[in-house]
Symmetry: C2
Amino acid sequence: MNYLMCSVGRRGELMKDFRQSMEAGSRLIATDNSPYAPALYYADAQYIVPRIDAPEYMDILLEICRKEQINAVTTFIDPEIMLLARNRDRFATLGVEVLAPYTETAELCFDKYEMFKFLRQHGIRTPMTWGTCEEALEAVRSGEVSFPLFVKPRRGSGSVGARKVESEEALHAAFSADPSLIAQEMMTGEGCFDLDADIYVDTVSHAPAAIFAKRKISTTIGGANKTISFKDETLFAFIREALKPFRFNGPIDADFFYKNGEYYLSEVNPRFGGAYLHAYGAGVDFIKLIENNLHGRENVPAIGDYEEDVVMMMYDSVVIGKKTDQELLEVLKK
Amino acid sequence: MNYLMCSVGRRGELMKDFRQSMEAGSRLIATDNSPYAPALYYADAQYIVPRIDAPEYMDILLEICRKEQINAVTTFIDPEIMLLARNRDRFATLGVEVLAPYTETAELCFDKYEMFKFLRQHGIRTPMTWGTCEEALEAVRSGEVSFPLFVKPRRGSGSVGARKVESEEALHAAFSADPSLIAQEMMTGEGCFDLDADIYVDTVSHAPAAIFAKRKISTTIGGANKTISFKDETLFAFIREALKPFRFNGPIDADFFYKNGEYYLSEVNPRFGGAYLHAYGAGVDFIKLIENNLHGRENVPAIGDYEEDVVMMMYDSVVIGKKTDQELLEVLKK
């Protein structure tokens, strides 16, 4: 199988894991708009492409698919997901599977308030969220919630711009600076924790074929970037239910809270998560699942088929290359 | 040769470079106070030790040296450098070379204001620095400098707490919150840039045996953590002169500014820098220099013996292990 990995950036280790697992004769093709993207150097072929908002961008991707006889395409960056989703048909005519959600699901993933309303409508537990300052204050006045609240950009990626607000004044100030914010109840306190799951949504059955759950290790033990795997059938059942109303397709990374004995879905990043490395290191291999799908086979779900208490510790690695673009591309294909 | 690398933390890639370069029969021994330090897993033997401020800490290190027949010891964290320097004689009685500066030099490296005074006294160019709010304001009033100024903690490590202040009021506020700050002239403007150099100071001659210089690549090209090597005989001459009044011993990482055609020494981190990986990738091998020194041989200086325009691009790598300390130590010695 031939894979097109778009906007690979720093995801060198993911490329290495991918390569280790691909069936014989497979090729890994990578794009980025900068030759200084270290992950490029772990691909079999590299294309330096324009920014994803360039008018010719999609034609260039499709041309690469044609030339490299690509079987599946995916991206490592959020803003490109919608683009791939919208062009699913064009890829399909070339026989290329788009490992990204369908359009209506992709849209929900990138609007936290629409996502909240959708989840509520389908009875899926999620933190209480308000779309305006007035709604949030009304909830405070009625006793439904109390300060501190959490505000974050409606369309933000990850935790950029997310912060705690302690008072009515601070909430007013935050919303007048940026009316597109949302306010959310805090999911903290005794026994609460946040966690995330790397999930592979089968492209044939559209149900989860693999789930890998992990938590942060207390940062008192030597700093951040350390996570530990765990299993909980209650969580797995919640995820299976929660994903039903969506149309995901391939790898996703979902964030959850655990509070008062219940799981809550927080956000979904519908792509390979940065910590897929942990899942893979614990024996969860999405590449094999993708290959099965590309061969037209539905995967037998293997939810929780990994070891508990497997720890991931992150550190910096490097690619060394020569300055000019051409030279960069000629060296260091480890 | 047997090496004891203390407090290895996330420096996994440096351990790999070290291993690749060591002469046959050498061993790499690592310590950390947490079994979650990823670099531990690239050593031949690992010791989980107490925090460096524990009363028994030095005895434990010396015991490891004895047991593992260590030839040289170094550390990857700043607060331990002084400790190694102060105990040089105890290590020496075991035949262990301490790859860290002598005490009086180590002290200067960790007090930015004392360092400034020392550099001025020896006629070495360094950014103008003031030890109190009053001195800084006096310099502004006399027209010697104008806002913005730069403030940073006198004893801080790296750029933690460093920030720009734009006015007299802001300077007063900063110093009343933390009287131990120092104020510095800004080294920015047309044609200015900052750079750093990985330098190996020979333990026999006490002169630089290797210098590797690099700059950041403009962050408009795909984000930070990308550096490019360069050479300048003027810089090399400045470094040779600037280091003469000090008593360094082994690897150091020094920060410089370039302004109006002149180099200025900013700070010295007297240990392997995080970007030694770049130097090594460009062909500068400190391990060989250390080995020569440990065999009692002075190194022939090879200043600037590397390629220009070699680019380093950083990305995240991981170690996967099992949770319990013992299990962690038994797995993944790649």
